[in-house]
């Protein structure tokens, strides 16, 4: 935060700002001192904001034409695709936008894991982020139900049925969720309502996420605390704005490729068959972004324990700042952690792949090993590693290397440029 008090130049501006300090806020946002060594992995926050706004705007437009009724939902989607002006474009942006949103959020999360951005004093930012991620999964799942295709219907049946694993009250909860004795029209209408509500909750949490970020300021690839403002920082505008903009444009090219040339490749063909409660699809698979958790769910033989394992896999992230005992943030200075980090990345990708495969034979075995390793990483490796690992000495600042040019700093710089 800038240390000088901001006063608007014009009289009217001052009058307004004394009553509602919006101009002070705008000034804070443009002047916000940002570490100047942020690499492109840091641009995904801005990209995610773009994704959220895109989903809200296209979603509002779709909601004007969509009919949330079990007998009409599928037809109304076809109406959007055929008869609404550019309806196909809006729907394909929205459907692929969900995938792009998750692609960006996974990169954002894994960036945080690599550079230790979740560590003190940024725990609250991290926890809000995990809540946003949970809400995103809920919104995406309910959104997938709305076209009322076969995968919508059976996906909804499988996921809501998970609650029946809760002892004693499980069955009652499922009936309550469905609004009946099976997934049907009442389920569809409430999912539509919630699907409409959740993005605005996410929007509110995003404001808190950014607010909490602006208290300590950004972490950076070196992971050391820096003085703000100083030679190590640049004002957010124009430096970070243009860099985020550039990265966003690159992201949009990938996004556009999916929307215009492969709009259905990330979806499942069965969802173009209207929901039929009497016919079960051969394989019920969730969307790709939920597959790792689906694999964890299926790798536990007991239903209740499977649900517990799946939920823990997500919630364990919320306590990550306390599981990781290392004081050093950036993996650049933690040679062992860096290796375990890449193993975790591979582990999650393997889990995702296994989630798409039938749960049998070798697939199931690999999924089980990968699930066990996932928990091992967070519950054993991280706490122990923080205490045992010999880290590389940190530089004093981003610009000024340790007395007379430290070799470590040069190494860190090299690592950074490689990442870029």
């Amino acid at each position: 935060m800038s240390d000088h008090e901001y006063t608007p130049k014009s009289k009217a501006g001052k009058w307004f700002n004394d009553r509602l300090p919006l101009l002070t806020l705008a000034n804070h946002l443009t002047d916000y001192p940002t570490p100047k060594n942020l690499n492109y992995w840091w641009t995904f926050g801005g990209i995610l904001t773009f994704c959220l706004i895109t989903q809200i705007v296209t979603g509002l437009t779709l909601a004007m034409h969509y009919i949330a009724h079990a007998d009409m939902a599928f037809e109304s989607v076809e109406h959007i695709m055929r008869d609404v002006n550019y309806g196909w474009l809006i729907r394909y942006i929205h459907a692929n936008g969900a995938s792009m949103f998750f692609l960006a959020v996974y990169i954002h999360i894994f960036r945080s894991l690599f550079y230790g951005s979740y560590k003190s004093p940024r725990e609250i930012i991290w926890i809000i982020g995990i809540i946003i991620y949970l809400l995103m999964m809920a919104a995406a799942f309910m959104g997938y139900v709305l076209p009322w295709g076969q995968m919508s219907f059976w996906g909804a049946t499988v996921i809501t049925n998970l609650f029946s694993a809760i002892p004693l009250v499980g069955e009652g909860i499922v009936t309550w969720l469905w609004g009946g004795y099976s997934v049907d029209n009442p389920t569809l209408t409430r999912f539509f309502t919630l699907h409409y509500l959740i993005p605005f909750l996410i929007l509110g949490l995003v404001v808190l996420h950014i607010w909490a970020l602006h208290v300590p300021g950004n972490n950076n690839p070196v992971g050391i605390d820096i003085k703000k403002p100083s030679k190590d920082t640049v004002p957010f505008h124009p430096y970070i704005v243009i860099k985020d903009g550039f990265a966003l444009l690159m992201f949009m090219i990938v996004f556009a490729f999916f929307v215009f040339y492969a709009p259905n490749i990330l979806g499942h063909a069965d969802n173009y068959i209207e929901a039929n409660p009497l016919v079960t699809p051969a394989h019920i698979v969730p969307e790709w972004y939920l597959l790792p958790f689906y694999a964890i769910l299926r790798s536990v033989p007991d239903k209740l324990l499977g649900v517990v394992a799946m939920l823990s896999a997500i919630l364990i992230l919320a306590v990550l700042p306390w599981l990781d005992t290392s004081k050093i943030r950036s993996a650049v200075f933690r040679p062992l952690y860096k290796q375990f980090y890449w193993i975790l990345v591979a582990d999650v990708l393997i889990l995702g792949y296994m989630g798409a495969m039938p749960a049998e034979g070798l697939y199931l075995l690999i999924a089980r090993v990968a699930t066990a390793y996932y928990f091992l990483h967070f519950l054993v490796i991280l706490p122990v590693l923080g205490l045992k690992e010999r880290t590389i000495p940190l530089p004093l600042s981003i610009t000024e290397p340790v007395l007379g040019g430290s070799p470590n700093m040069a190494m860190a710089k090299k690592k950074e440029s490689k990442l870029e």
């Binding site: 037809e75 990169i107 430096y239 243009i242 860099k243 090219i253 063909a269 068959i273 990708l349 798409a356």
Partner: protein, 259 residues
């Protein structure tokens, strides 16, 4: 930068992998060159018109296409029949309308605004007439099958004698490409079953290709508009990205740090 590409290629490889894995139990589908694939893919107009003829003379006896209207036949990017032709096609169907002022339902010739007339009143009637199997609606059929156009194209040509040792119930046929190899639909096409109005030889292969092209259009009527807009959008984005890249370099040159 290199790592970004690595990551992207891993993701794309993985998604392609799992995508093909969903249709894993498959045999290799028959291939043909589809004019609508690729960055500039467009429908072959003549093939679409022939495909409509195959649909209406063969498939439409059992398969509905309830999300299409007769007006679509003359719209841009489709078979592009003239409006007069589309009107004549519509008028050749009897449409139930009403109730009129006496409260009676009545039939009238179809209009451009009518949806394609369905062969059966409802799903139950369709099942009853087809030995208990519902002939699926064809509006989005291509998108509703894992192998897409290649699958439909192959299926139409995949009828063979059942291998020895496989017993087929009455009214069940063997098809090389069908999931589980058993299909209730008897081979719908045979050489010369229809006479193309443009004189093209109506071989099974030709008809399969034409009708599949038609089904692709039916499922994705805005495919041509999508490809055209996509090309413009991506070129625009690339140019803008380059401009922004140089602006960024310029702005960041004020601080000594690299971007």
């Amino acid at each position: 930068m290199k790592k970004i590409f690595k990551l992207f290629s891993i993701i794309i490889l993985l998604s392609l992998n799992s995508y093909s894995a969903f249709s894993a139990e498959k045999v290799e589908y028959l291939k043909t060159d589809w004019s609508f694939k690729g960055l500039f893919g467009k429908f072959d107009r003549a093939s679409l018109q022939r495909g409509y003829q195959v649909y209406t003379e063969v498939c439409a006896a059992c398969h509905s296409m309830k999300y299409l209207s007769y007006r679509n036949l003359s719209e841009k990017g489709g078979p592009e029949f003239s409006v007069a032709q589309a009107k004549a096609i519509a008028a050749s169907f009897e449409v139930t309308d009403g109730p009129n002022s006496d409260g009676e339902m009545f039939t009238r010739p179809g209009k451009l605004s009518d949806k394609f007339v369905m062969p059966y009143e409802n799903v139950k009637a369709a099942e009853a007439a087809n030995g208990g199997a519902y002939p699926p609606d064809m509006s989005v059929l291509v998108k509703a099958r894992g192998g897409g156009v290649d699958y439909i194209y192959s299926l139409l040509q995949g009828y063979e004698e059942a291998p020895s040792g496989m017993t087929l119930d009455d009214g069940v046929h063997y098809n090389k490409y069908m999931y589980g190899n058993k299909i209730k639909m008897s081979a719908p096409l045979s050489d010369g079953i229809i006479e193309y109005s443009d004189g093209t030889n109506a071989s099974v292969e030709q008809m399969s290709k034409d009708v599949t092209t038609f089904l692709m259009w039916a499922a994705e009527p805005s495919l041509e508009a999508r490809h055209q807009m996509g090309f413009k959008a991506i070129v625009y984005l690339i140019i803008l990205t380059i401009l922004v890249y140089f602006s960024m370099k310029r702005i960041w040159s004020r601080v000594e740090s690299e971007v």
